[in-house]
């Protein structure tokens, strides 16, 4: 009897104590994963006030390592990846823990339908981790500068501005950088003036030129033609391709120019429009001149571009299959044994031409944007937008600790590790004089690739990072290496980037509610009409067709879209 009584008293005491511990944390709901390890490491429950007192100074000031004075546990939600064997035993994890003094715990999120999964986690509110890491890397639509404001207004994620000023030694430098007339601070700031996420971004020249034109050099040589530099020359070259049998098989089976609309970079017309007006494919064809936002597809220059494309199609130079066929058919044409395609566009030459066939790869060379009749010459610019790779939730007890951890991940050392692995094991510093694909001094040479393969050294960039070595890799000595070809072509495009495009605008949640459908319809309409102008269903030379085309924009709500975009632009810049 007495024995069992003692046991029950002990049990009751344990229960009461654990309850009081649970309540002492300001009524916040905690997950079992969070509380369990906390019980083991944090000091006894009795001196709660003491813990709160030291909380102010639990994190060391900026630049001082380790980040925390005593061990703190942080739970990160990270995407599951077959290429990361185990987050707990991962080299990157252990390296971070050693450097920062933080103990990391993980909740993994399956990457399929990650956006629903994250929304559910946020909606339920109880299982919130301290922070999300790498979600933006998997799906950019989960946290955008627009919808993250909604989560913030519901008290689910917290703004980082205060921490950026106090602890953000790495991100502050990054935010000052400028691209396409905008600083990264402008790009990342939400409509309410706050920054909610830590970036994941790789600087890369080759990806900035979205549509590169690849032309059949073999044909040019056969016919004794020069690489075309203007739209007029280009048309003449295509005409020669069509009529002078450049593949010398005696059959008129040549397709001078062809693409597919399945993916923007293959559609050919975006590249051609760039010779008439800056073509902002990345952001709904919005342009800005002296602070005034305008829409490119209703201008006279656009009409000229349509006329040019219509000319090419009606003369059989641009194949009308471009507007109907899929990517596979395009590939089939370009890789045809009879060598039948004169030119196509893509982000990288190997997107269409077979990457393991050096004969086909060597056939095509990248040419610069063409100069239009009015001297306009722009490539299709695609500015890399940072993905939301670090988001701190309101369940986080020590946001400043997580913030300093994320900021540390942005450092060159951590970012290189999280992309390329360990120095001397996976990569080495190249010797003096080693060149990159762009002809500059190389900064990194991969000797053992661990990117996109199962490994346990890093998190496959499921973390905040700034990859400064994107352009710094040592080049392949083979001149037909696709990556090398792409980079060499990209140099020509970086010289004629348009200056008046808007890479992105951040709308407020209310604005996006209003404008979302308009944007979708306008984008679709513009694409449809380009196709119709091209194949002659609508005639760009005909004034009544053109004014009919323009009138439809009124119904679509273009004026309202420009008005809201102008407001957003002003908010971002002044």
């Amino acid at each position: 009897m007495t024995k069992s009584k003692i046991i029950s008293i002990v049990l009751v005491l344990v229960l009461v104590l654990s309850l009081s511990y649970g309540c002492s944390k300001g009524g916040e709901v905690k997950t079992p994963e969070q509380t369990k390890p906390a019980n083991e490491t944090v000091e006894p429950t009795s001196n709660v006030e003491e813990v709160e007192k030291v909380e102010d100074s639990i994190v060391n000031p900026e630049g001082v390592f380790p980040i925390v004075k005593e061990q703190v546990e942080i739970t990160l939600a990270v995407p599951q990846s077959p290429n990361v064997e185990d987050y707990y035993t991962n080299y990157y994890t252990r390296w971070l823990e050693e450097k920062t003094g933080i103990k990391l715990n993980f909740v993994t999120i399956p990457t399929a339908e990650i956006s629903q999964k994250v929304q559910l986690m946020l909606a339920s509110g109880v299982d919130l981790p301290d922070a999300f890491s790498g979600v933006g890397q998997v799906d950019g639509s989960v946290f955008t500068t627009t919808n993250i404001v909604r989560y913030a207004s519901e008290g689910l994620v917290i703004p980082l501005n205060e921490y950026i000023d106090k602890y953000g030694e790495n991100i502050r430098d990054f935010l000052k950088l400028e691209t396409a007339g905008m600083t990264y601070r402008q790009i990342m700031t939400s409509a309410d003036g706050k920054i909610y996420y830590m970036p994941g971004l790789a600087f890369s020249t080759v990806n900035r030129a979205a549509s590169k034109m690849w032309i059949n050099k073999q044909w040019l040589d056969t016919l004794g033609l020069e690489i075309p530099k203007t739209t007029q020359e280009f048309k003449e070259v295509l005409q020669a391709f069509a009529t002078r049998d450049p593949n010398q098989n005696g059959v008129a089976d040549e397709i001078p120019l062809v693409g597919t609309t399945q993916n923007d970079t293959y559609n050919v017309y975006d590249y051609l429009i760039g010779s008439f007006i800056a073509n902002n494919v990345q952001f709904h064809r919005l342009l800005v001149n002296d602070g005034i936002v305008s829409f490119a597809a209703v201008t006279d220059e656009w009409r000229e571009a349509m006329m040019y494309i219509n000319d090419l199609t009606s003369n059989g130079l641009l194949s009308s299959l471009t507007f109907t066929q899929d990517h596979n058919s395009l590939k089939q044409m370009v890789n045809d044994n009879n060598n039948i395609v004169g030119a196509y566009t893509s982000l990288g030459v190997q997107g269409v031409a077979m990457a393991n066939n050096p004969e086909i790869l060597s056939r095509y060379v990248g040419i610069a944007p063409l100069e239009g009749p009015n001297g306009v010459r722009h490539g299709v610019l695609s500015v890399p937008i940072p993905s939301a790779n670090g988001v701190i939730t309101s369940a986080c007890e020590h946001p400043e600790v997580v913030f300093r951890l994320f900021d540390f991940m942005l450092s060159e050392e951590a970012s290189t590790l999280s992309r390329f692995g360990i120095e001397d094991e996976h990569w080495v510093v190249p010797e003096e004089g080693a060149l990159t694909n762009y002809g500059t001094q190389a900064t990194i040479k991969i000797i053992n690739n661990i990117w996109n393969i199962p490994q346990n050294t890093m998190w496959q960039n499921y973390n905040p990072y700034i990859n400064r070595n994107g352009d710094g890799q040592e080049r392949n000595e083979n001149p037909n290496d696709p990556v090398r070809k792409n980079c060499e072509a990209a140099i020509q495009y970086s010289r004629c980037e348009p200056q008046n495009v808007i890479p992105t605008l951040t709308y407020s949640p209310d604005e996006i509610d209003e404008v979302n459908e308009i944007i979708t319809n306008i984008d679709e309409y513009v694409q449809t009409m380009i196709a119709k102008f091209a194949v002659g269903e609508m005639n760009p030379y005909n004034d009544s067709d053109w004014s009919k085309y323009l009138r439809e924009f009124e119904v679509l709500g273009l004026d309202r879209f420009i008005e809201i975009s102008q407001r957003a632009y002003i908010r971002m810049n002044y």
Partner: protein, 329 residues
């Protein structure tokens, strides 16, 4: 699934009748004594009821989202009520009329075109004597059913490509040129529907085969003695047997007019045929789910579709009862 349920409906008729008789006998003693007597049956019934409650009725609570502005933090029950806002938004959207017409055209066209082919296939194959030939044709005809939509569309695009496609090669051999059917908005419904017929006719004929197997051989023997030709036997014996099945299938298909498959139309779309290929599901995908996740909006559209579907089922059920005497309910 649907085929299975139809089979069970038609086969269960016997037992159902018997049950009714039994119930009449115990009706006086009331429900309680029935429960006592047949408790085993009720326990068996419990499992499907629980299943239906949990997986079919409970999720229907989510329909309230159509009338609420959903907030992740507040959840389904506490989100603010906005009435018919999302319905108005949908009805007044720029392309509503166009997508509505396209959806109805495609689905009615599919239903009408897809009905006779499997019946004809089943009737003619049923009349074939050689078992080997019959089985082979049957197998070959329903094989396309198992190809995924993505592959089917890719196949179509390859076949109809005017440069590298099979049809253009054949036509080229005879010195002809085929038009680019994917570029024509007029051709889209035909392409969509008849590729669907090709893919599904064999599979859909299985149900008719099952119905035909129940024809009493004596009827045929008698007809042969009376001097009926094979064709006459098909018209007067086989066809009447499968008409109830056909009408039930038609009613069930009517229940899907609005929820016509998203994938195929989406994959077959391009800038030139968009005026006939944009249907409700592809349009809502574009405006509701890409870029801006709007659960309430998509719920509202889903609810609207379901209401129209239900309406169609009820109307065609009544119609079928009037015309052929057999119906669903």
């Amino acid at each position: 699934m649907i085929y299975m349920s139809i089979l069970s409906i038609s086969e269960d008729k016997g037992p159902v009748m018997k049950k009714v008789k039994i119930k009449k006998g115990i009706a006086k003693k009331g429900f309680i004594s029935g429960l006592q007597r047949y408790w085993q049956l009720y326990i068996m019934l419990l499992l499907p009821i629980i299943y239906i409650m949990i997986f079919h009725y409970y999720p229907m609570l989510g329909l309230q989202l159509a009338f609420k502005k959903f907030s992740t933090r507040l959840g389904m029950w506490k989100s603010p009520f906005v009435g018919l806002y999302y319905f108005e938004k949908f009805f007044s959207s720029y392309k509503f009329k166009e997508v509505m017409i396209n959806t109805l055209t495609l689905s009615f066209y599919s239903i009408i075109a897809q009905m006779p082919v499997p019946i004809l296939l089943a009737l003619s194959l049923n009349a074939v004597r050689s078992k080997f030939y019959k089985k082979t044709v049957q197998l070959l005809s329903y094989m396309p059913h198992f190809i995924s939509t993505v592959v089917i569309v890719s196949l179509l695009m390859q076949l109809f490509n005017t440069r590298v496609g099979l049809f253009s090669a054949v036509a080229g051999f005879f010195g002809l040129k085929i038009p680019d059917v994917f570029a024509s908005p007029k051709a889209f419904p035909h392409l969509y529907v008849w590729s669907g017929v090709w893919q599904n006719a064999g599979w859909a004929s299985i149900i008719y085969f099952a119905a035909l197997s129940k024809v009493d051989p004596e009827l045929h023997e008698v007809a042969i003695i009376d001097g009926a030709s094979r064709f006459q036997r098909i018209i007067h014996i086989d066809l009447p047997t499968i008409i109830p099945t056909a009408s039930i299938l038609l009613i069930l298909n009517m229940g899907r007019v609005m929820s016509i498959g998203f994938e195929k139309a989406f994959l077959m779309q391009n800038s030139l045929n968009i005026s006939t290929s944009e249907i409700i599901s592809t349009y809502t995908y574009k405006i509701g789910l890409t870029g801006n996740m709007d659960f309430s909006y998509s719920t509202a559209i889903g609810l609207f579709n379901s209401i129209v579907n239900l309406f169609m089922v009820v109307v065609f059920d009544k119609l079928s009862k009037k015309l052929s005497g057999s119906g669903l309910f």
